[in-house]
Amino acid sequence: MATFLGINLFGLFGQLLVGLINGSFYALLSLGLAIIFGLLKIINFAQGAMYMLGAFAAWMALNYLGINYWLALIVVPLAVGAVGILMERLLIRPIAKEDHLYSLLLTFGIALMLQGTFTHVFGSSGMAYAIPEALQGGFKLPFMYLPAYRAWIVVASILVCGVTWWMIEKTRLGAYLRAGTENAQLMQAFGINVPLMVTLTFGFGVGLAGFAGVMAAPVYSVSPDMGSNLLIIVFAIVVIGGMGSIGGAILTGLGMGVVEGLTKYFYPEASSTVIFLVMVIVLLLKPAGLFGKEA
């Protein structure tokens, strides 16, 4: 096998690819957080719980209603988004004018309650969700075996992230949205329903987490604590990328996946902390994050 400086190159390529796969997952999750924070200034700690809800909804849809994976990929994000809309209207809006900390604590509480309820009902061991038939098997690359489903994760995530970025940064709707969050009164004077836009944006961000949950169900076990395990990492990624930077969240998500993958290869014990190490370094050198605008 080819080696370079004593490193097995095939092994290294494998790790890079795996890192990219995980990174596309991180990108998808951090994107939802970045949209909600960037546009609405709400720190949504319930995003991990919404991701968990997405995975459970996919499992329940399959087992109770017979809805398959492909249909779940459309229905579940809409359903989770609807939960997000309800949450925004009923719980977050009344405290939207208060300090960010209030929404943080509120969403954190919601997350804990959801997680507790699911543990109570479904137990802590998790549920099995099979990979859809069309995506079973994989490709034999020269340096690794690439499962078809993992390849699909990369393609789908990059597609969804790309379209979302384009909508927010390049379209008229996105421009309204950005303007509405800058100066709500002015936009309302132009006849634009800003509160509705805020609600829909929150719903969309949460729906993205639901989508990530469906994507995750076949590869990770569907369990009540799946969201809380990931949330902190994803938050670190959003901070590294620059709070609120949409493109930053996507690129940092992919990049951190790769960094983590390489750490797992060279020094696995540090793999759960490496992202936080990067966060500390970035915050020291560039407090607004890699892609954030200095305040």
């Binding site: 092994g11 075996y145 993992r150 076990s221 797992k264």
Partner: protein, 404 residues
């Protein structure tokens, strides 16, 4: 003469007071036998010994008749939140101010280590049903510890030996990076080497890793015949899932060293089917196990894992020992527990050793494939019964009180 009478009277009064006092106290302290159940009620181990352990112990008390030596038996429970400080504080409160006589359940080795220390200091009995560490009967042994269901040595012996002996010699470890995983890897490695195998590599994955793909790739690159998962719970489920996805299960055997029934149920039969493992109990083994497990499922909603059955069996043995000893005083009860042979649907060919280790038959089982299953609870095929003395490591000189 008068003085003599006075003395006699005094002696008689003193004697009758003493007898009266003793009669008031009774053979059972505080006129009640109180059992605390300390377990993880909502965390990652809740399914293997949480509310289910409370149910199992309550069932034992009811089946025993609710009273012992004419006094009522009470069960109280608490959530240790998987935190040693929370667990030991609760146990201290129980034994120091709430007259708890024994504490059962006991799941995570870290919590149990802290809890058994408090129990030993107070001369109260620890009925350990689900913790894995060997230490409770070796380096951290105590005259008040009873370790019932299994331990890491029995798991490693039971699962590893038959695989090495079948000719699969090269092993790779994916190990949970904390004391439990290291201990499990250590005992498994000993068994591998003793039986002529070798360990060709390993990785230490942080507890709660969601993505095992990097580790699976390394296992694949090592060219090992067997990849051993020295982890538990969700980690095992995720590792196995990833191994199947990356095609590792086609080129190597994957051996889960510690798998509980709820974890096996959480695995997709398409990926887990065929995997072999060791367990201290299987609900569908025979009529006796089925009868108890059916009753348990009616109350708890799910089939029992080995820790649940162990908690029941252990509580029953404890209550029988109180009855035989005629008191709930810990030293006398422990002596009776070790003297009497445990024997029920769970404890087969069993003895409770002087070091507190309960040695009993273990089961070498295989996870059924989807086609082999008749329903969701039909998960294991029992391949072999491993006699206790083969599965468990012999008593070690490390345990101080046994030597003296």
């Amino acid at each position: 003469m008068k003085a003599m009478n006075k003395t006699l009277l005094a002696v008689a009064v003193a004697a009758s007071t003493a007898i009266g006092g003793a009669a008031l106290a009774g053979p059972v302290s505080d006129d009640k036998v109180k059992i605390g159940v300390l377990a993880d009620m909502g965390g990652v181990y809740a399914d293997i010994c949480g509310p289910g352990c409370v149910t199992a112990i309550e069932m034992a008390v009811e089946d025993f008749g609710g009273t012992v030596l004419g006094m009522p038996i009470e069960v109280v429970s608490a959530d240790d939140q998987l935190k040693p400080d929370v667990g030991s504080a609760k146990v201290r409160q129980w034994v120091e101010s709430e007259q708890v006589d024994a504490v059962g359940g006991l799941v995570s080795s870290a919590v149990v280590g802290a809890a058994t220390k408090v129990l030993t200091d107070n001369k109260k009995i620890a009925l350990i049903s689900t913790a894995a560490s060997n230490a409770f009967t070796t380096s951290a042994c105590s005259p008040y510890n009873v370790h019932w269901t299994y331990n890491v040595a029995a798991m490693a012996n039971g699962t590893v030996k038959p695989i090495v002996q079948s000719g699969k010699k090269k092993w790779f470890f994916i190990t949970a990076d904390y004391a439990f995983g290291h201990a499990l890897e250590g005992v498994a490695t000993e068994v591998i080497v003793e039986n002529g195998g070798e360990v060709v590599g390993g990785v230490r994955a942080p507890l709660g890793t969601t993505d095992f793909s990097s580790y699976v790739l390394q296992a694949q690159a090592s060219g090992a015949d067997v990849v051993a998962l020295a982890n538990a719970g969700g980690d095992t489920v995720n590792a196995l899932k990833t191994a199947a996805e990356f095609g590792l299960t086609q080129t190597a055997d994957v051996a889960g060293l510690l798998v509980f029934t709820p974890n096996a149920q959480a695995m997709d039969p398409a990926t887990a089917g065929g995997m072999t493992l060791t367990t201290g109990f299987y609900w569908d083994y025979d009529d006796a196990t089925r009868a108890w497990s059916t009753r348990f499922k009616e109350r708890h909603g799910a089939i029992p894992a080995m820790g649940h059955a162990g908690a029941y069996s252990m509580t029953m043995h404890y209550l029988k020992a109180i009855e035989a000893a005629g008191t709930d005083e810990s030293d006398a009860v422990m002596a009776k527990m070790k003297e009497m042979k445990p024997d029920d649907f769970f404890a087969r060919n069993a003895t409770l050793r002087a070091d507190g280790r309960m040695v009993h038959d273990m089961y070498y089982v295989q996870i059924k494939t989807a086609e082999e299953r008749r329903d969701a609870d039909d998960i294991f095929k029992v391949l072999d019964v491993i006699p206790g003395d083969t599965a468990y490591a012999p008593m070690l000189p490390e345990c101080n009180f046994v030597k003296s």
